[in-house]
Symmetry: C2
Subunit: 248 residues, 2 copies
Amino acid sequence: MGTTQLETVPEPKYWHLKTVLSDALDSEFAVGEILPNERDLAARFGVARATLRQALEQLELEGRLQRRRGVGTTVAPPRVGVAVDPVRHTWPGAAGDDWQPVDAVESDAVPAAVAGLLATAPGDPVHVVRRSRVTHGRPVATELLYVPAAAVPGWAPAASLSAPARARAVLHELQTLELDGQDRTVELGSARAEDARELDRLPGAPVLVVTTRYVSGGRTAAVAVSTYRADTCRLTFGESDAVALLAG
Amino acid sequence: MGTTQLETVPEPKYWHLKTVLSDALDSEFAVGEILPNERDLAARFGVARATLRQALEQLELEGRLQRRRGVGTTVAPPRVGVAVDPVRHTWPGAAGDDWQPVDAVESDAVPAAVAGLLATAPGDPVHVVRRSRVTHGRPVATELLYVPAAAVPGWAPAASLSAPARARAVLHELQTLELDGQDRTVELGSARAEDARELDRLPGAPVLVVTTRYVSGGRTAAVAVSTYRADTCRLTFGESDAVALLAG
């Protein structure tokens, strides 16, 4: 192919090893199989442990390997497509949305980046709804949804409600507002300790962070920060239903 | 905040170091400043080089640090928002699209995943257009656009054209087709050697891979695989123009 005709880049040693390992995964291992330990692998390929570890990290970034707590390194199944906006132009929690409400608290300390988007001042009360998303029985994403109390004035969840019911009550209150629009960013992040636990990952594991801003009445009425496992997820965006077009 | 009340996760040593380093970046370093070398940093924080390296990798994942070839590790500026679909429901190369055509070649060997989406058989000729994207004078993304020759039958770029002109000719030919729809996936990847060179990164650096499928006449007429730097980019998706709504 033409693109390989260009000036050659020196290849780091772990990069070559990664290619060799990738071929070995294809030919010798099945999905879910546990890899031999690092010492044995390093010996087999005649490389230093540090080089091996770099190659394994690459393969994890590419979704070929998974490191699982208490299990070891296993051969990953193909990534699962997860629709980021299955129900378009709706508030979170609308019918067809497949997130599970976990709890809701009122907080006066939200992350600076979120406060910036919400245009809240330090100390302003904000409802923080936690939700989680499970696909094929596996946790794939966790979310914190920030709703300034000022966006739903004169309302507070009844103290007697259970945690998930409190979360549903905040979502229900959002639905009463008119949604003018939303926008979204996707970036690379590393899992915070709480998210890592929920996602069955180690703290610091690479994640895809989707930040959605919901606009109502000329102000940002809510911001959702959703953290997706980067090893198992492919985020899908259906600008139009290409799959349906192809099937039809 | 309520979410911190849950059962505590044991914190790896590098994770704690990452937090300490992150604070140091805020208080002692300016954007673009070069960090001291690993040996000095490890000594200052009283940790092993391996632990330090893990913490630096985390900060790179989070976009706080950049590793640059021949320069070292520098404090990263805030990530730049890059619009993935600034001109919606159009073919690549439409007016307002800010990718630069680089070249086009005809290939009969496309990656298996792309061949799957295109439903091409091995050996089927495919036009491969290479494009690049520069924001604020910095390369942020590189793209390979695959167009099966069968999607633009009876057409081939004139051999006399320059490389960018060949690329523009393929894009121009796409515009003559009716676009029924498109869909898109975003996932984590690691930079291939060619992409790394174009993006001024080391091979294997984390990248965000955006795969767009363009449907015309009931078939996939083109697939674009765009590779964005994960350290400097935040991908933005404007489902509606929330920024304009807020400004108005």
